[in-house]
Structures are given as structure tokens and as C-alpha cells.
Symmetry: C2
Subunit: 419 residues, 2 copies
Amino acid sequence: MSLESYMNQIGQQARAASRLLAKASTEQKNMALFAMAEALEVARPKLIEENAKDMKSGEEKGLDSAMLDRLLLTDVRIDGMIEGLKQVASLSDPVGEISNMAYLPSGIQRGQMRVPLGVVGIIYESRPNVTIDAASLCLKSGNATILRGGSEAFYSNQMIATAISTGLEKVGLPATAVQVINTTDRAAVGKLITMPEFVDVIVPRGGKGLIERISADARVPVIKHLDGNCHVYVDDEADFDKAYKIVINAKTRRYGVCNAMESLLLHKNIAADFFPRILATFEEKGVELLGCSAMQALSDKVGVATEEDWYTEYTAPKLSIKVVEDMDEAIAHINKYGSHHTDAIVTQNYTKSRAFMTEVDSSSVMVNASTAFADGFEYGFGAEIGISTDKIHARGPVGLIGLTSQKYIVLGDGHTRDN
Amino acid sequence: MSLESYMNQIGQQARAASRLLAKASTEQKNMALFAMAEALEVARPKLIEENAKDMKSGEEKGLDSAMLDRLLLTDVRIDGMIEGLKQVASLSDPVGEISNMAYLPSGIQRGQMRVPLGVVGIIYESRPNVTIDAASLCLKSGNATILRGGSEAFYSNQMIATAISTGLEKVGLPATAVQVINTTDRAAVGKLITMPEFVDVIVPRGGKGLIERISADARVPVIKHLDGNCHVYVDDEADFDKAYKIVINAKTRRYGVCNAMESLLLHKNIAADFFPRILATFEEKGVELLGCSAMQALSDKVGVATEEDWYTEYTAPKLSIKVVEDMDEAIAHINKYGSHHTDAIVTQNYTKSRAFMTEVDSSSVMVNASTAFADGFEYGFGAEIGISTDKIHARGPVGLIGLTSQKYIVLGDGHTRDN
């Protein structure tokens, strides 16, 4: 079969399965998740074997150790995948919720019903556990899923796919509700993102390069974030103890995550007093500091930040620091150089906290809290499929709700429109 | 100035204005709407002169009478535009609404704040009153707007733009909050839909051809509907009096609107009894009927519907009719041939009404009500910028809410994340 025919078949099957999933009961979906967990447990030895094939070929291809680590499936990681399936089963089902139901002057009742998006395409790199995470969230939200993993995890993903199908069929749901593309041909991605008749939304998970390519070529809506260039602004009316804790946590909790602080803004009136507090800790932790000229004047431990630095997400023990005139300059800087992901102010001033929340144009805006909280679990969604910095549809951490849409429902009793 | 530089300047100005609009108070926005109404009143004689230029050049270019009618501005139509501005001022402001605020286990409070999208680009044809409608809805929802009207309404739109600017400046808002592109060069549209750095969303209003072209080329999200191929399904448990009223209203209230019924589905057990009731009225009103073979067997007044007819939005006194085995066939037909706009069932059966609402994958699904109700005014939004058949973001009639987004806000008191 040609790739074109293969992808069309995958698409048609997904669309057909999505009709059945949309009307599946919560109980049936939960049973499927438990059956998938069971099938994964049964497949465990075989999965470890298949994963070893991927690891071997990854080593032969010369993948770096970080990539090989992400690729590796251990017993602990498989336990985590099984646990994840059970956790998704325990989340409440958003599908079917009806809101804003009201009688209108014409006599009709109008409301909104929460419904699945339909078919969700997921494109991701290396980590095979994404196969389970994404499939389970899409299933619980009533969506059919087409998954395209990285070629380096091909054998692992195919094995996981088999376990998923087994689980689905056991409870009478179509095995095609979750399909893993069985070719590493790159053209499959090109086709997946350009068949709006079969795919309703694409969620890419991976590096910025991958996401940029997909966004540029897609003919289907994409839910994504590109950068996490997050800021903390320490105001002249900040409580220094809170500011210290937040700045250190936002930068050093983990360096490689999208909600880590990459740029620190200090009000000019407190920069000289506050900076020494954090300098010692950053030196101890080996965080490289780059700053504006005012920052360099304050300390010879601060290198030169270029214009490019203000735009940069380091995802590394590296931080840019700028001294600002006031909060307005901080907000303007964030809206210009930031990536609209997550930005925080530290201040005890009530009026400024309100203005910062209103004016900073980011998916999460925080007051006196670490940017590290920008996360679906921390926000109470139980799980997330990713974080969106898009402005339409889902913005911020995307959980089950972000995988649904709302349609209008109208109830009448023979009502017609006069004018 | 080159077109490229001109459009970049428009974009930069819109982005800058959007920052000010996002924090403008409801009162200031309402004052601006009233000032625009006043400025339009003052400009009335000049606007009628400028419109006459457009009409003259339209006649010379040989525009058809329907297009010329849409282009014409009369005193009554200008009254309508002025009234519309005042009505938008009376709508409640969605911006700043905070919902789902909750304390989470970590101690942070997390909620969602409703915020403007930022910059909205509107591309539309012929009717100059869209300039006012779109500008007022975008302004009220805190968005900056870039408007690109049809070349045939160039002089009218430029004059309306002047009145809008006058109103904005009078209340201290930037005149660049609403910008009307002052060139008829088609490349301006190509640029407008491909500058995501300045434009957050595009709303095209016009024929299907225009919207398809824009959707295909846009690098910015588009809120749109392409077709309104709406269905009414009359179930074997329908109340015939209600069914008659709904079928006639959905088809004959107006033929050219997107929420008109284009296809009628009749349960096989009632087709022979019910059809004669509607036939007389459709004949009287001159509605052409095309049907499946079963329909043709019922009546020699019914022509042959081809496969293509089931996909077609006639926007004309023409209707396709199909006899179906049962509700499941009706739902499958609607999901396959429909345009996911608005579809209705007529039935007295409770269980079927629930299943139809759940399973029909359309932006509006109705029970015992005419499809004609799919409309922002009828849904109680006070106004609409269009109807969306997209699944993400806004679905169905789009009012002020559809022109906003929600960002997460997090309040802490020095909170940091441990794990």
C-alpha cells in the first residue's frame, strides 16, 4: 500500500472510531484504561526486549546519552506508565457537561455541551512513555488518536500500541481508537498534518525545530508552545525573603524545563541590595549570569547580555538579568522579549499586582509564586498533554478540558423564528 | 512606502494599541463607542457622498444588483450602524472576568482571567456596515483591529474609518486601535494573514471562495465557517404539527442565510404521511425539491438528487430530501454530508433527543426548534461577528466571548515548588 493510501486508511479509521468514542460512557472508557494497564503488565517482558532493540540501534546511530536515557524503558518507568493509566481513569470525565443553559426571549433553551474534539494527532520524539500518556488522555476525553513517535523508539512504540489495542478490544471499543503509525517515513508526518478531513487538531511534543516545522506546514490547528522564556520581576516593594525563595526556585529547581526562569528583572531601587542575596546561591549552584550594563556595574560576576540573550530560553544553568526603571518597563520588556509562557511579579503592592496580572500577555501570570507552578498537575488537572502558548482555544497547561470543544444545544417545542 | 513596510507599520501600531486597549476600562471603551456614533452622525452627508462614488464605480464595473444593494448606504442603514454602536456599548464587558479560582494543595490559588485576543484582522466583502460592526465588537472586547474591506467599498470604508478614529481620539484611546487598510492591493491580504507577530486571529467574512483562499494561506489562526449545509431530521415519533412549522421555517424564512435548512431527512415510517403536508407549502413558495429514489417514488414533484446534492448548500429555494431507515442513518448522513453548522431533530422521544444531541458533530444541535435560531442575537449574545464551524476555540455564533481568551493567574505568598 502506498503511504498516501496507508495514511488515508489510518485517517478514515480514526474518524470512524471517533464517532464511537464520542458516545462511549465514562465507565467504558475507564474500563479500557484499566484493560490497557493490564495488557501493558502482560507485555512487560516483551516490551523490555523491544526497547532493547531501540537502545541498541540508538547506540549504533550514536545518539547522545541524554537521548538514550529518554529512550530507555526500565521496570520503574513501565510501573509509571501503568500507574499513569490508572490515574487518568480516576480523573472526572469532561464530556457531556452542559453549561450556560438558559431560556431566551424566543422561548428556546440554549446551552453548551462539552464534546470531544474528534481526532487528535500527536507527533513526538524519543520518550516512548508519551505513547501511553497521550493515548490515555485522548481516550478519556473521547478522542480518537493517531500517534507518530520518533523513529528511534519504533520498536518500543509498536509494542505499546499492541498493548493499547488489546485493552481497547477487551472492553468492546475499536482498536482503531488509538493508532500508532507503523512507518518511520517522514512523509507520514507531512500527510498527517494536512488531512483536516480526518484530523481535528495536532499536538506536537518535542524540540522547537520540530514544532516550528509542523506549525509552518500544518493545514490542521496545532496546539503548541515553542519557547518557555519565563521572567520573574522583583519589584521595589517586594518582600526580599519571598523574592529570594521564588527567584532561586524558578531558576534552579530544574534547568531543562519550560517553566524555568530564564530572565530576571530587578527594580533599580532594590537591585543593589537584593542582588548579593541571590549571587551567593547562584555561584554555589554554578549558574552563569549575564546582565545589562547596570548589572555589570553592580558586580564583576555578571557577564554581558546581548540583545539576543533577552529572547533566549537557555534551558541551562544560565540567567540573564536586567535592571528596570519601574514595573511598566518590566511589563513592556516581558511582552516584547518573552514567549508568552509564564511570568511572575514579586511585590507586596496590591495595585501593582493587579496591573501586572492584567497587562502581562502570557498564558500564566503569577504573583509572589514561582514560575515552576505552571504545570497541569500543579494546576489540579491531574495530567497534562502539554502547555500551550497559543492564544486561541487552550492556553497554558492543557489537560482533559483542552482536548474538548463545546457545541451549542438548543431545545424547543416546535419553536420557529419570526423575524 | 512599500506595501511590505506599510503593512508592518499597520501591524506594529495595532500591536502597540492592543496593549493599551487590554487595560482600557469598560467605561472608556463605551465612551469611545458613543463618540464613534456621534462622529458617524456628523460624517453622514460626507459618507453618503463617498458611498455614491463607490456605487458609481460599481455600476461602471458592472457589479450585479445584489452586490450593488449590499454596497448601498442609505439614511436608514446609517441609522442602523449608529444604533449598532450604542447596542454594543450596552453589552457587558467580558474582559477581566476571573473564573475557577481555587486553592490547590500546594497553597497557591489558581484561576483563569478573561483577556482580549490582542489584534484581530477582519477581511470582508462589499457591505460597508461590517466596518462598524466588526470594529465595535473588537473594541468592546479589548482587541485592536485591522480591517480590510472589499475594493468596491473603498471610499465608504475610508470615510467610516475617519469617523472611528475621531471617536477613539476623543476619549483618549489610540486612533490606531482600529485601522482600515488604505490600499486595494491584493497583496495586502496576503501580508495581513502571514504576520503572526502582529495579528492574533483572522476573521474572514464573505463567500466560500474567499474564506477557502484565506484559510489555505494563513499563518495566523482563522475563525470561520465555510458552508451552512443544515439538516432537519423528522423522526417517526415526531409531532407532525411541530415538524411542519419547523421544516417550513427552517427552509423558507430566508433562502440566502447560512442557517437555512438545505437537506431534509424523513424517517421511512412517516415519509408518505408527512410529505404531502409540506409539499403544498413548498409548491406555493416555489421551492424546488430533489430527492432520493424513495422520495421520487412518493411524488412526481420530486426531482433526482445526485450524490453532489447531499453536500450542497443551495442558499436558494431548493431542497434535497432523503428517506432514512432510522435515526442512526440520519445521524451518519449528517456527520458525513453536513458542514457541521446546525442540524435539528424533530421527535417526541426523549432517548432519541439525547442521542441526537450527543452524536451529531455540529456547532449547533437542536431538538424541536428551527435551524434559523443559530444566530448570536437569538442566542442572547447581543451581537455576533460571525458563526464558526471550527472545532477549536469559538464554535457556533461568535460574540464578544469568542473574541477573548483566558490566561491562568496564580496567586501565592512566596510559594515555591518542591518536587
